[in-house]
């Protein structure tokens, strides 16, 4: 079974990759399986300066999902280039760097810093993190602003740029169209949905940040719906994500219109999940009458 997928900057041996923020920079998961098995890896977000992130508690379990408010903790782009990326070089694995920021200038600077490395194959432009006070999601909710960040980052980048969309908007299609027009090479979607859980004993929100990003199987139908709609409106490829926990979910994302699929929260439940799903994908595709992964992309639209 041919699982390979080609999208800008990414020649994927299979359409499966761990989602940003759920896989660190890969080191922790290499003790469970050979990372070369993955289609690609989306590493944790980079900002210009190191960020300490939010106070704890930062996570809470919810029904078939979880809330997180990590707050973009990362060592800063320079350290990521020097100390984290070299480790991933030993694997046959395209790396997608996640770029975050508090201002458009910061997004641009992080992207410019990444020019010094040949260790990344693409950029995922994170205009949708719900867990930071400044930046993040505010750039992903207004089409004109999303387009402006995309344009600036695209100009500064030496690799294709995928824009990560927020589901916390009234009309995700208008944002998708705006970033496509601004030059995005692809779209990744969806980021987490904002949510909250209240601690009954303390009578206050459980997370220290109060609001967190909801992820996991609970959000999968929303991701599928949004990808289905965006696929009909844009020509650039979509990397789909949002609650994937089993191989059938991957096929569902492909049918909705995703060209590749990222797995996030499920890595916490089962550190082998990406590897397991890659093993199961050929049989699943065959079962539903496909002779390649490529053939399934957009197959749900008639």
């Amino acid at each position: 079974m041919d699982l390979s997928i080609e999208i800008p900057g990414l020649n994927l041996k299979n359409p499966i990759m761990p989602a940003s923020g759920c896989f660190g920079f890969g080191k922790e998961y290499c003790q469970f399986y050979d990372l070369s098995k993955l289609g690609a890896v989306m590493i944790k977000a980079a900002t210009l300066k190191p960020r300490l992130g939010n106070p704890t508690p930062r996570v809470a379990e919810t029904y078939s999902g979880m809330l997180n408010a990590i707050g973009l903790q990362n060592p800063g782009v320079e350290k990521i280039i020097k100390e984290e990326l070299p480790f991933l070089k030993q694997y046959d694995l395209p790396v997608v760097a996640n770029v975050a920021g508090s201002t458009i200038d910061e997004y641009e600077s992080v992207t410019e810093s990444l020019r010094q490395t040949t260790d990344i194959a693409a950029i995922e432009l994170n205009i949708s993190c719900p867990n930071v006070k400044e930046g993040g999601v505010q750039f992903g909710t207004v089409p004109e602003v999303a387009a402006e960040v995309t344009r600036r980052v695209k100009n500064a980048s030496h690799v294709p740029v995928y824009v990560k969309l927020s589901p916390n908007v009234t009309d995700i299609v208008s944002i998708a169209k705006a970033v496509e027009q601004a030059g995005a090479d692809g779209i990744t979607m969806i980021n987490s949905l904002t949510g909250m859980q209240i601690d009954l004993n303390r009578r206050q929100p459980l997370l220290a940040n109060q609001v967190g990003g909801l992820t996991g199987p609970a959000i999968k139908p929303i991701a599928i719906r949004m990808i289905y709609q965006v696929y009909q409106a844009v020509k650039i490829p979509i990397i789909g994500m949002g609650g994937v926990s089993k191989v059938e979910d991957v096929l569902e994302f492909l049918l909705a219109g995703a060209s590749a699929v990222a797995i996030g929260t499920a890595n916490f439940q089962n550190p082998m999940i990406c590897s397991d799903i890659i093993d199961q994908l050929p049989a699943c595709l065959a079962k539903y009458g496909f002779s390649s992964a490529k053939e399934a992309i957009g197959g749900g639209h008639h």
């Binding site: 759920c22 080191k27 300490l52 979880m66 499920a266 916490f268």
Partner: protein
Amino acid sequence: MEQLKVVIDGIDFIANQTVKLDLRLDLERLSKFQPGQFIHIRVNHGTEHMLRRPISIANIDIEKQILTVIFKQFGDGTKALAQLQPGQLLDVLIPCGNGYPIDELKISKALLIGGGIGVPPLYYLAKKLVEKDVEVSTILGFQTKDDVFYHDEFNRMGKCYVTTNDGSYGSKGFVTDVIEKETLDFDYYFSCGPKAMLKAVQNQLNHFPGYISLEERMGCGIGACYACIVSSADKSKYKKVCVDGPVFKVNEVIL
């Protein structure tokens, strides 16, 4: 670290909402555990519970080839774990985190201070210390009589003081009251319990070297997700409770 399916040998309530879970494990794996380390348990199949539960090792029985953990039923996840039956398989990540580095320390007398569900990891620690001919005294704090467990077990290994908040078992008050009242002779202390207790103990015993074990809500449990962080003493960076801890030197982190 590895992901493994282990067989449940036994599961019992030993105190109020407090469950003792025995898991069968081979000698080679058992001998690698340090006291203070934890195992990261998948609650069940399916997607209802997406996060594992980190639970400290309470005991290792080399002869019977059993690893014991003790946990309290707090929410839906731990309630589901409490429903497990002997013979069932449990998906675990083992071993997780850094334990108490007792092989690197020169100790002749140790003071162990545990509060509530912070008591279990101190039991295996006490056992390993006694094996090394260290004299062990223990102070255990619980809310009330129904919560008390392992008093006899700790008593067998040295002097054990029990205190309850309401005085329904042992003395009335907190572990810090026992520290103040009793004449305690030790060169290192080891503590595990709620943050407020650890803070109080650390303040009270600030002239003594020691180690504390922290509890925090975790995601991956392997250092990838940055959920369970704690600030280093100089505030320059965060440490990860799951891989840098859960055991830290006193004053290494800000509580």
